[in-house]
């Protein structure tokens, strides 16, 4: 079983859209996939029309994988299940800080799901704290969407610095450009600069697209309602690169 994450400490960069679409493509490729919505806003759960249980079970999240499994719901698509977010997931940082071996906790609990799933996709909240560090330990690779703007460039540099300081393997971080507007000179230049600086950027580029925005209205991955559109083709290309990377890392 492989665990991957869509992470950025910056909000609104396309983490959830990426997590939803790559989990969908993984499942469509025949891979038994679980998407875990760690963001208490619950956007990816919403996109898949999955509601969390009304019970406040989040405090048991890191106790036993069977508790997790009890909260999992099937999506409308074969091979794809969702662990929907609950509002009290916002307390995860506090919860983890009270636990021993908190950084390894997420990895340990998720390993119990290896009989059920071949791939776990973590949709992470935009923060940096104990939960993020648990994700950095559990996931490999960690896909980082980057909008090619100065601010995002700075955020990515901060993440790299954090990895360096905390001695996390920076090779785990796999950035790609997201919400790209090809007509903007700033986007073009930033992409050139960042590619020159970081050789590990994926080739696939997710465009800024109304089709991605429409996921909220359609409550489905882009492929379901905009199959032949550029945004969908971009997610297919992204998934293909990701799966090649996963296979390479598996070797």
């Amino acid at each position: 079983m492989r665990i991957v994450a869509c992470y950025s400490m910056k909000g609104g960069v396309g983490k959830t859209a990426t997590a939803v679409n790559i989990a969908y493509w993984a499942a469509k490729s025949g891979i038994r996939t679980l998407l875990i919505d760690l963001d208490p806003q619950g956007a990816s759960s919403f996109y898949f029309r999955v509601k969390p249980s009304s019970k406040s079970w989040g405090k048991r999240f890191f106790n036993a994988y069977k508790d997790l499994l009890g909260q999992v719901k099937a999506s409308d698509y074969d091979n794809l299940d969702i662990l929907p977010a609950h509002l009290n997931f916002r307390k995860f940082d506090v919860l983890l800080s009270s636990l021993k071996k908190r950084k390894a906790r997420l990895k340990k609990i998720l390993s119990g799901l290896s009989d059920e799933y071949q791939l776990i996709v973590l949709d992470c909240p935009p923060s940096i704290g104990d939960l993020s560090e648990a994700v950095f330990v559990a996931a490999n690779p960690i896909f980082v969407p980057v909008i090619p703007t100065t601010l995002s460039q700075r955020t990515y540099a901060q993440l790299l610095q954090f990895f360096k300081e905390k001695k996390y393997p920076h090779k785990k971080l796999v950035p790609f450009f997201s919400m790209v507007q090809g007509q903007k000179a700033l986007h073009k230049k930033t992409m050139e600069d960042m590619r020159a600086q970081h050789s590990n950027f994926l080739d696939a580029v997710i465009p800024f697209s109304v089709d991605v925005e429409n996921m909220g209205e359609q409550r489905a991955p882009v492929d379901v309602f905009a199959r032949s559109r550029p945004a969908n083709r971009a997610y297919v290309a992204l998934w293909k690169e990701m799966v090649a990377l996963l296979n390479k890392k598996a070797k």
Partner: protein
């Protein structure tokens, strides 16, 4: 990836609209996931239904083939022509999946009918979310009509599943739980297994008089041999003739080794008749054996002899076609039918019980024979050295075969686990002795083919082959002594004694 099992409801009449228009309850609607599809299919299997026995189904629909197995993804392939053997398929996945079960047997249609299937999503109005799935699977032909509605749960939607299930219970009656509803299940439900060809069997009474038991067993073996005759006449595959000969050989061996159980004239007549009936089958079997191994023999020859080998194969194939026609004529002939009727009459005659041997309980007779045969194998086998003539090795093979026949024919008189242990110990020795004999037979066969032809390339190819096979036979000869020593080890003696339920005695050398 659901936690709960599916539920199923049997349907005999196809009513795909049964749950339309809110039939499953408020706020739940049906949407087509996979539209109703009806296909005329043929089920293929070999003579013994090996695929069926292995819970697998080979389904043919036009030139599309699907291999279905429980809890596994179907293997599909488009295949032109009419593949008969596993190696006729062009899809490597099919060849691999079928080869181990079909071995040398040909595929034949065992059942035809129409399969109708469809899938629906059951959607709940609130979140507009799919909460469970419904499948219809139905099989129908002239004699059968059976199918199932299957409600499949989705993880996390147990309440919705239970609600739909209660509704379906009301409409269709109580459900059947924990059933993997697939085509195999439906066909099993139609008691298709009852139609499976089975070997002729009789129940052995261990205390029955030897004459009664032996005659009954001979009759049973001959009847079982008859099951294979239509397959020989249709020339379906080489195994029909092989199995026919094995059963008759067992019958003949049984008559021979149970001396005294049958009266001397009855024994002599049966022995002669069984030999007569088998004799016309030998040539075709020899030719079949060679052709089945042709790829191996081809691989033994260098490129320079390939054209000569091609000529040899053409000649053998022609000879095989001729031998097959001759045998088919024989199996239709009055001679065969008269001989067969005589064997059945003789074996079915009322017991005379004229001698003490004929009256003794069969288990005592078989015990004595197994013990005697085993000791003889030990005695003759351990006397064999690297210099002993090949003839003695061949005789030992025949002795082993007799013991093996006794153990298999009368297997039900003994503890199955102990019997299995002995047969396992025999296998190594029998394989070596069998191959040793096959090499000798093949050298003779090849020499005969060479003598019949004037083609120089053929004669050269044959000479080359004989030289290689002779070397292989010599190498195998060196393994004979160690294989006998292994078989004659005290462990085997102890197992034989356990089987015959008596104290261990040292093997008489």
């Amino acid at each position: 990836m659901p936690d709960t099992q599916s539920l199923a409801w049997p349907v005999t009449i196809l009513e795909p609209d049964l749950f339309d228009n809110g039939g499953l309850g408020e706020k739940l609607s049906l949407e087509v996931r996979s539209p109703l599809k009806a296909e005329d299919v043929t089920l293929l299997d070999d003579f013994d239904w090996h695929l069926w026995q292995d819970n697998r189904l080979l389904v043919k629909n036009g030139n599309e083939y699907q291999l279905l197995a429980p809890a596994a993804e179907p293997i599909s392939a488009v295949q032109s022509g009419s593949p008969q053997f596993s190696w006729d398929f062009t899809s490597p996945a099919f060849v691999e999946a079928l080869a181990d079960r079909l071995t040398l047997r040909a595929l034949r249609p065992i059942l035809a009918g129409r399969v109708t299937q469809a899938w629906w999503n059951i959607r709940e109005a609130g979140e507009d979310k799919i909460v469970c799935r419904l499948q219809l699977l139905h099989f129908q032909n002239e004699t059968h009509s059976q199918g199932y509605w299957q409600l499949v749960p989705l993880r996390g939607y147990q309440q919705e599943f239970d609600k739909v299930a209660r509704r379906m219970d009301k409409i269709l009656g109580e459900s059947l739980a924990n059933l993997p509803v697939d085509l195999h299940f439906i066909l099993a439900d139609l008691a298709l297994d009852d139609a499976r060809p089975r070997a002729a069997t009789i129940r052995l009474d261990s205390t029955a008089a030897s004459e009664v038991a032996v005659a009954g067993m001979v009759l049973n073996l001959v009847r079982d041999a008859q099951r294979h005759v239509p397959g020989i006449i249709e020339d379906v595959d080489s195994e029909f003739l092989h199995d026919f000969r094995v059963q008759l050989r067992k019958a003949r061996s049984l008559v021979q080794i149970t001396k005294g159980a049958l009266s001397a004239p009855r024994q002599a007549s049966l022995k002669t008749l069984l030999a007569d009936i088998m004799r016309p089958t030998g040539l075709l079997r020899d030719l079949d054996v060679f052709l089945l191994e042709q790829q191996y023999y081809r691989s033994l020859l260098p490129e320079i002899h390939q054209s000569g080998f091609d000529q040899l194969i053409r000649n053998v194939k022609n000879a095989r076609n001729q031998a097959c026609k001759t045998l088919q004529q024989y199996l239709h002939s009055d001679t065969y039918n008269t001989h067969l009727a005589s064997i059945i009459d003789l074996a079915g005659e009322p017991a005379e019980l004229a001698s003490t041997s004929s009256q003794q309980p069969i288990y005592l007779l078989v015990n004595q024979l197994i013990s005697k045969r085993y000791r003889k194998i030990c005695r003759n086998g351990l006397a064999i050295t690297d210099d002993t003539p090949d003839e003695d090795v061949h005789n030992l093979r025949i002795e082993c075969k007799k013991l093996r026949y006794l153990l298999t024919i009368f297997g039900e008189l003994y503890d199955a686990a102990t019997l299995k242990k002995i047969i396992k110990r025999m296998k190594g020795l029998q394989t070596i002795l069998g191959n040793f004999n096959d090499y000798a037979v093949q050298q003779e066969f090849l020499a005969m083919q060479s003598a019949k032809s004037r083609s120089q390339p053929l004669q050269m190819a044959v000479s080359g082959l004989i030289a290689v096979i002779f070397q292989q036979q010599r190498q195998l000869r060196q393994q004979v002594c160690s294989a006998i020593e292994e078989f004659a080890a005290p462990e085997t003696t102890a197992i034989i004694d356990t089987l015959l339920a008596k104290e261990t005695e040292p093997c008489e050398l």
